[in-house]
């Protein structure tokens, strides 16, 4: 009945193979790049000596072989990116135009399905709610907290409290919050914090995660809880970077804290604010783990990434799954273009 350590040995062996492969590939590459050019250099030297001895004209110094080095430095990364990302992405686009077994071309049928099937439309609406609420709330909480704890005692400690959820997996966070939402029948003692609060205020306990559309909002709370730390750290750094003389001048002018916030803090941290919102938006678009762990997409809580997984890997609908993936990609593009444009302006400015 005890845990048998010996059974785990093949895994450690495999891990060791992986590490040996790592040393061999990376070390081997560097060694190769060191040894081969050195060998060429020595041969050239020998030729130079021979040439000077025989009085023949000196061979010209060969052109620096920069391209050779660049190729080998870039080779592993480019190879992996091609095999693992570029080619698959192109294939996914093609698959999205084919049927579930990827044998017949069906044109845009899968995309038509996406916008006509009631369940999928619901998924798209849920995703929209996620994308609107999560960046907004996470940034707002992060910003409020960053402003409130700025330059108070225990600032570092106060910040790490909010920041810690970033280290917790989405799965772990979902379990933490599932426990908060836990339900015990009416009359029993509640074990979930939320129902306990409701009951102590005289309300009825609820099965929170079963009630649509409230359950989607409760899942969004989990995402906000994880992402607010990121927003807080970046915005806090931006707030601290506001030049002290501007703040001093405003203070001498007798500006109230409220005005200070809207007219000095906000405009100064605008670039950081945009970065935070965009980053969280992209993360939210791809959210998968929270929905899968909490409700498995049931009770009308599914989102695009979750539905994509279900279609492609549970129902074997490769075409429909791929179409959802492509749609996700299309949604990300404008957000990223906006960010790049912003960064460029920022650099110019």
């Amino acid at each position: 009945m005890e845990f048998d350590f010996a059974e785990e040995q093949p895994k450690f062996l495999m891990l060791m193979y992986g590490l040996i492969a790592f040393v061999a590939v990376v070390g081997g590459l560097l060694l190769l790049l060191d040894v081969v050019p050195a060998w060429f250099a020595r041969r050239r030297e020998a030729r130079l000596v021979a040439a000077s001895a025989s009085g023949a004209p000196l061979p010209r110094r060969p052109k620096q072989r920069e391209g050779f080095f660049a190729l080998f430095f870039l080779l592993p990364a480019l190879l992996l990116l091609t095999i693992g990302l570029v080619v698959p992405a192109i294939r996914t686009v093609l698959l999205s135009l084919m049927d579930s077994n990827s044998t017949n071309w069906v044109g845009l049928h899968n995309y038509g399905w996406m916008f006509s099937d009631g369940a999928i439309v619901r998924v798209l609406i849920n995703s929209l709610v996620w994308v609107i609420l999560v960046p907004l709330m996470a940034t707002a909480f992060g910003l409020i907290y960053a402003v409130l704890v700025d330059r108070v005692r225990f600032e570092a400690f106060a910040k790490s409290l909010i920041f810690l959820p970033m280290a917790i997996s989405f799965v772990g966070a979902s379990i933490i919050w599932k426990f908060v939402y836990a339900y015990r029948g009416d009359g029993q003692e509640q074990i979930g914090l939320l129902n306990q609060i409701v009951v102590s205020l005289g309300g009825e306990p609820k099965q929170w995660l079963l009630e649509s559309p409230l359950n989607t909002l409760l899942l969004i709370v989990i995402m906000v809880w994880i992402q607010a730390g990121f927003a807080m750290v970046v915005l806090s750094a931006a707030i601290k970077a506001i030049p002290a003389d501007i703040i001093e001048a405003a203070r001498l002018d007798g500006v109230s804290p409220w005005q200070m916030f809207w007219q000095i803090t906000m405009p100064s941290i605008r670039p950081a604010l945009i970065v935070v919102v965009v980053t969280i938006t992209i993360a939210t678009l791809k959210v998968f783990d929270i929905v899968r762990t909490s409700t498995n997409g049931n009770y009308e809580t599914s989102v695009i990434a979750n539905e994509m997984y279900n279609q492609a890997f549970r129902y074997g609908e490769n075409g429909q799954g791929s179409a959802l993936a492509v749609f996700l990609f299309i949604l990300v593009i404008p957000v990223v273009i906006y960010q790049i444009r912003n960064l460029r302006q920022q650099r110019k400015g």
């Binding site: 891990l15 992986g18 590490l19 990364a77 074990i191 501007i246 109230s256 762990t293 993936a325």
Partner: protein, 321 residues
């Protein structure tokens, strides 16, 4: 405290500093509210985790019948949950020790490979002159926007059936079984991590002083030598930051592991097992609470001990862009 001229930037009605009693009270009230609000937020962010943590040490019947807050009036402490969830042999107990090892075996190579490859690539893109350098960089940068969902179906096919071009088998299927499937997961994580890793390290490496490289070149140092002896030591903080990012990402990942590692205890990491337990045994709180903490503790230690690097990397990666 120089006599600063009133800046135009402020440009609003100048209210005088509160001299009246009411003004002073309002100001104090403001700071009171501020403290209160920040405490409420802090509680909201910590109490859920704290509750789960307390619960993981309570006996099963206690967890299932009373709220964790009753622990303070009726403290009962046990390590039984951890014992069960880690080493228990019955199929319902979790067997998390096995999955914990899987998580380690998946994470370590999945952190090392992308960092090494990205560092090499970033060096080439920053300091080796070759034609088309800008284009390669832009291409890798642009790949950041491809969601990994775009690659899942074809990549899984690549592993299971290999590559055939026009009916000819160019690359064989990998045909991996049991723990060999780790290699698939390493491969997938490495590919998906590269665009961001190259981008982040390029940010650091390209900012190294050019004189340094020039001097080394004049001394006859080759690119591999410069990379090893000059660049690597200088970018250690960036490598650390990237390492933490990648570590947290891989350790906490569910999607990639679910698809490429399968669900068995030979390869699946903690996250996959926990998600499964939350789905099928959602009311076995004595196991879920302890299990969640088994999965949280490693990233938490890494995070707390290296937080400084993490924050620096975060700021460099997202703000400087």
């Amino acid at each position: 405290m120089t006599t600063a001229t009133p800046t135009v930037a402020v440009g609003t009605t100048r209210t005088d500093a509160p001299k009246t009693v009411a003004g002073r009270v309002r100001k104090r009230l403001n700071s009171r509210t501020a403290t209160l609000v920040s405490i409420i937020i802090a509680l909201f962010w910590t109490v859920p985790t704290f509750g789960l943590f307390i619960s993981s040490f309570r006996p099963e019947d206690q967890i299932k019948t009373t709220g964790w807050w009753t622990f303070f009036t009726d403290p009962q402490f046990t390590l039984e949950n951890y014992q069960q969830v880690l080493f228990g042999r019955s199929s319902s107990s979790g067997q998390l020790a096995s999955y914990f090892i899987n998580s380690l075996a998946i994470t370590i190579p999945s952190v090392l490979f992308p960092i090494a490859f990205a560092a090499l690539a970033a060096y080439a893109l920053a300091w080796i002159n070759f034609r088309g350098r800008e284009w390669v960089y832009i291409a890798i940068f642009a790949l950041q926007i491809v969601p990994l969902q775009m690659a899942l179906v074809p990549l899984l096919k690549f592993f299971s059936t290999g590559v055939t071009v026009a009916g000819i088998q160019v690359l064989p299927a990998w045909d991996l079984v049991d723990e060999q499937k780790f290699a698939q997961v390493w491969f997938a994580h490495t590919c998906f991590a590269l665009p961001f890793a190259v981008f982040l390290l390029h940010n650091f490496i390209s900012q190294l002083p050019g004189d340094l490289m020039e001097a080394a070149r004049v001394d006859g140092a080759s690119h591999p030598k410069i990379f090893r002896t000059i660049v690597l030591p200088l970018i250690t903080p960036a490598l650390a930051a990237l390492g933490i990012f990648q570590f947290l990402w891989v350790w906490n990942d569910l999607l990639v592991a679910l698809i490429f590692a399968g669900g068995g205890d030979e390869t699946a990491p903690l996250t996959v097992r926990l998600a499964e337990m939350a789905g099928t045994r959602g009311n076995e709180w004595q196991r879920l609470t302890a299990g969640a903490f088994v999965s949280i503790v490693v990233p938490l230690i890494v995070f707390l001990s290296l937080q400084r690097y993490f924050v620096r990397g975060l700021l460099a990666g997202s703000v400087k862009g």
